[in-house]
């Protein structure tokens, strides 16, 4: 299968005062295109750091981060912005949508930075929010806000959809809906989209194509799941 993410000898060290904290310790990782990948691990294991490096939100202290054949670890700030705009969709635990913009406008915002975005109406329809397009975020429930965030990410038509605890702030029923949307996004586009989900919730691992366990800044295991369960089959 075609590789989308390659990490070679990647380390990330944070300096806190005079102390150093190694969030990622010399890791190597390869991820395939079109898969749904779940990254599991306890707090402080380095999951989010891994996601941030893949997403171009942060740069490694050493090593190479290669996305779709391009080494982004050597990119400057400007190039990283372009990389994020064209290739990556982010979904956060607390949605991070702009409170002063309507649902539609929150999705429209990507039009200023992406060359070929998916039409806003289509993106909203895919997450079932077309009827709420003129509402402001504070008029929506948590699940609906997360769907706005997914629509915004999807509208960019990204190669990578990076989700940091996307269901963390939602009830189980809403969480299932969100995961279904993520699966749908992964299966769309003839398998060209890759979804990486960072989570504490080990139950989510059952629906993934690949499950990565991270501990103390190291990759503990990479497990392939040839028969991922359907989301409705998982007992939450």
């Amino acid at each position: 299968m075609e590789k989308i993410v390659e990490l070679k000898n990647v380390s990330k060290v944070y300096k806190i005062g005079e102390n150093e904290f190694k969030a990622l310790d010399n890791i190597d990782l390869e991820l395939n295109k079109g898969e749904m990948i779940v990254v599991l691990g306890p707090s402080g294991a380095g999951k989010s750091t891994l996601l941030n490096l893949i997403g171009g939100m942060d740069s490694p202290s050493s090593g190479e981060v290669i996305i779709d054949g391009e080494n982004i670890s050597s990119y400057n700030e400007n190039k990283l912005s372009s990389y994020r705009a064209e290739n990556v969709g982010f979904i956060f635990q607390f949605y991070n949508i702009l409170p002063s913009l309507t649902v539609k406008e929150n999705v429209d915002i990507v039009k200023d930075i992406v060359k070929n975005p998916i039409p806003t109406e289509e993106a909203l329809k895919s997450v079932g929010l077309e009827e709420h397009k003129n509402k402001f975020p504070n008029q929506l429930s948590g699940g609906e806000q997360q769907r706005v965030s997914i629509a915004r990410a999807v509208a960019k038509n990204p190669k990578l959809l990076l989700c940091d605890e996307p269901t963390g702030a939602l009830d189980s029923h809403t969480g299932v809906d969100v995961l279904k949307l993520l699966r749908k996004q992964c299966d769309a586009n003839h398998g060209a989209n890759t979804v990486i989900i960072v989570t504490h919730n080990s139950l989510i691992a059952d629906i993934a194509d690949t499950v990565i366990h991270v501990k103390n800044g190291k990759i503990e295991s990479v497990v392939k799941n040839p028969n991922p369960k359907k989301i409705d089959e998982v007992k939450w």
């Binding site: 912005s81 064209e86 991070n96 949508i97 002063s100 406008e105 429209d108 402001f136 960019k156």
Partner: protein
């Protein structure tokens, strides 16, 4: 522990707290400095007048006898009275004296000699030398003049007056309470202390035949009885010419007017500084505490007492404002206040004048601390009232859709997302927007007002010296000029003349003192109308100035009863029209009208000409030759003091504006940081985000600038129309270029500061910002 947290918060938010400190400091600094100077002038002079026992009444007559003096002393409510002879004596060999400042020898040197019998009223303030003693010879000499000419105790000065020569040694260097604001003559515009001064001598220095006392000074023990004392002097002493009080004394009123004029405009400025600064600081503290919401909630959840948490947050505002306030109070007083006071002291002769802080200044400083502390306390208490479980969560903005209606309709529908986003951010954060608007508006307005004062004063100069005084030279005729001298002068320089007389007029039950100018100098000495355009007076009555008409409630068509001072004949004249004059509020009439009145003779005291008299030093029958150019430059010199204050006010306005815009920028940036981080994560480039950030602040700046213009005009007009002395009458005049410069200046400052702050966007750490918001 909480103290440590406070110190760390202060360090973490140092830009914000430094700007808070600077805003409070600048406001109190300006308020204290300006008041210390103005109140120093006012209270210092009051203290001086009280200690030296300045006269309460000034009485004139041809010659006061000893009996007159005793009679006055016997009157009710009269404490004391003294007789005085005042003459202007020429110093023999003026070329022996050199002006220390210019290094030039004097061409003329005149000393106003005050011969007295005792010195219990208007007591001399002896800087060096002996106390006044009527039995001693010598000169108690003007300190400022002595300083300028290098005259010392022991120096001998030869004086000549109408054939009499006196050789006197300087026995003391003094200042006198009746010579605080002291000028050469009525043609001088401000005190120079170069070739003219005063001296006090014992009356015994003059031969008996010169013992004539045309003046009497009176000390009244109960000032509420001043009117009664005046009346009883007139009643009991024969042939009294005038009885005037301190308000009619040139020295007293001139100094007071200067103090009050400055007080009005700088009071407005310093008050606005305080208002703008308080508004900005209060809003900033309120937003700061709101930002600390989750931490306050956490501390509460941990079980720390509300009182302790409140105390910690209150201390942020309290300590900063106390330190800034105290420093502002004292640095303002001892730098700004002293600087201006010392500048004034160049003109006004007054000893031990020092800066003075009235209780109001302390009250304002304390008030600022209280307001800031109270707002911080209330903001903190509001959060603490919530349950800990609620307070530890980020507050979800309560936004009503109706607030944003405007942005979802009409032209706004088509606006770019960044425009919509900014517009909604403005509507959502109305308090911050309002504070930004008022802050920028206030500072721009202050600059426009200050520059507008320049414009208005320049316009006043143009009106006075190019329209009203439309001549090159004025010849002030000697009192005793002869007909042949007059004929010779008008033959050579033309017959454009005027005469000014002191008049008393009845207004209700009062008899008031004023002046009447009989104008026969058509085209050269012009009377102007409401629009500052010259007009020709008719011969059907007297004219009064607009301001006097308002102040005295006299209208066109009314009849005024008046007489020339020291005469008995009362006239009834119709007010034929109104004139407008920037600096003299008085009566005018034509020569023809004046001559229709019984028992009047027109005897000009001034001749106006446009001939070149620059090389002519002396004309027979002429006392002084005044060049309009010189008067104008003297006036310019006098305005320099005011201009210095205005420069400083502009400086403080700019500094305050700078700090406010910077503070707003930080506030606005901090509150939007996580949204910018989101945009950054989405792939927005720093340049695009900077544009969004700057856009909103530029909008606010433009709106604030536009709003500031009409308010600035109104404030300037208020200063000139109402706040300055009654003798002035001119309105605000602000040139379009002034608005343009001020507006552009504010815009550039705001743009550059925002550009500078926008650099922070480069440093946004997406991960931390987004986590922080969680």
């Amino acid at each position: 522990m909480l103290f440590k947290k406070m110190l760390r918060d202060l360090k973490h938010n140092k830009s914000q707290f430094i700007t808070i400190f600077l805003m409070v400091f600048l406001a109190v600094f300006a308020f204290s400095g300006i008041h210390a100077y103005m109140d120093g002038m006012k209270f210092g002079s009051e203290e001086y007048y009280k200690k030296q026992n300045l006269q309460d009444l000034w009485v004139t007559k041809e010659n006061f006898s000893k009996e007159d003096l005793e009679k006055v002393k016997e009157l009710d409510n009269v404490n004391n009275a003294e007789r005085l002879l005042r003459i202007k004596a020429n110093v023999v060999n003026p070329e022996d004296y050199t002006n220390k400042t210019t290094g030039k020898e004097l061409k003329e040197f005149v000393i106003e000699c005050n011969f007295i019998e005792s010195n219990d009223i208007n007591q001399l303030y002896v800087q060096k030398g002996e106390k006044f003693d009527v039995n001693k010879s010598g000169l108690w000499f003007d300190e400022y003049l002595a300083e300028n000419l290098g005259i010392k105790i022991g120096d001998e000065i030869e004086l000549s007056y109408e054939g009499l020569t006196l050789k006197e040694k300087v026995v003391a260097i003094v200042e006198a309470p009746d010579h605080v604001y002291f000028m050469k003559d009525e043609t001088a515009i401000f005190p120079t202390h170069t070739d003219y001064g005063f001296a006090y001598l014992s009356i015994n220095e003059l031969p008996e035949m010169f013992h004539v006392f045309p003046y009497m000074i009176v000390d009244v023990d109960d000032l509420s009885q001043l009117k009664e004392v005046k009346a009883s002097i007139k009643e009991n002493i024969d042939n009294v010419i005038t009885v005037t009080d301190r308000e009619d004394d040139i020295s007293y009123s001139g100094f007071l007017r200067e103090a009050e004029e400055g007080e009005s405009y700088s009071g407005i400025f310093s008050g606005l500084f305080v208002f703008i600064a308080i508004l900005s600081v209060v809003t900033t503290m309120n937003r700061f505490v709101k930002r600390e919401r989750t931490q306050i909630g956490t501390l509460k959840a941990l079980g720390i007492k509300k009182r302790k948490i409140t105390w910690m947050y209150v201390n942020y505002g309290f300590f900063i404002s106390v330190v800034a306030g105290v420093l502002g109070l004292f640095i303002g007083r001892y730098t700004l206040g002293s600087f201006f006071l010392n500048m004034e002291l160049v003109y006004y002769e007054i000893p031990y004048l020092h800066t003075y802080l009235i209780p109001l200044v302390y009250e304002v400083a304390i008030g600022i601390v209280i307001v800031i502390t109270l707002v911080t306390y209330l903001s903190c208490r509001k959060i603490l009232k919530e349950k800990a479980a609620e307070a530890i969560r980020v507050e979800i903005p309560k936004v009503k859709i109706s607030k944003f209606d405007i942005t979802t309709k009409g032209i706004f529908k088509r606006a770019s997302l960044s425009t919509k986003w900014n517009l909604r951010d403005v509507l959502r954060n109305r308090a911050r927007t309002f504070m930004a608007l008022v802050g920028i508006m206030g500072c721009t307005m202050l600059v426009v007002v200050a520059l507008g004062m320049f414009d208005s004063l320049n316009e006043y100069m143009r009106w006075e010296f190019e329209v009203i005084n439309h001549f090159d030279y004025r010849l002030n005729l000697s009192e005793n000029y002869t007909d042949s001298q007059y004929e010779a002068i008008i033959e050579k320089y033309g017959e454009k003349t005027s005469q000014s007389v002191g008049v008393e007029f009845k207004n209700d039950d009062e008899i008031e003192l004023n002046a009447l100018t009989i104008n026969d100098a058509k085209g050269l000495l012009q009377t102007t109308d409401h629009n500052k355009k010259p007009f020709e007076m008719k011969n059907d009555g007297i004219y009064i100035t607009e301001k006097m008409s308002k102040l005295k409630n006299l209208k066109v068509g009314d009849t005024v009863e008046w007489r020339i001072v020291a005469t008995d004949k009362w006239y009834k004249s119709k007010i034929a029209g109104l004139a407008k004059d920037p600096q003299n509020q008085q009566f005018y009439c034509t020569k023809d009208y004046f001559e229709t009145l019984e028992e009047t003779t027109y005897r000009p005291d001034s001749i106006y000409t446009n001939k070149d008299l620059s090389k002519i030093k002396e004309i027979n029958g002429v006392n002084t030759i005044q060049s309009i150019g010189n008067i104008r430059s003297e006036m310019d010199n006098m305005l320099q003091m005011m201009f210095m204050v205005i420069y400083l006010l502009i400086g403080i306005s700019i500094a305050l504006g700078f700090v406010i815009i910077y503070n707003l920028g930080i506030l606005s940036f901090t509150e939007k940081e996580y949204q910018f981080a989101t945009l950054k994560v989405l792939g927005y480039k720093n340049k695009q985000i900077k544009k969004i950030f700057i856009k909103q602040n530029i909008w606010i700046t433009i709106v604030a600038i536009l709003l500031s213009f009409p308010v600035a005009f109104w404030v300037t007009d208020y200063i000139f129309a109402n706040a300055i002395g009654d003798i002035y009458d001119f309105n605000a005049y602000i040139r379009p270029i002034t608005y343009a410069i001020s507006g552009l200046g504010s815009f550039i400052v705001s743009y550059l500061i925002n550009k500078f702050l926008a650099r922070k966007i480069n440093k946004i750490d997406m991960v931390s910002s987004l986590k922080g918001n969680e």
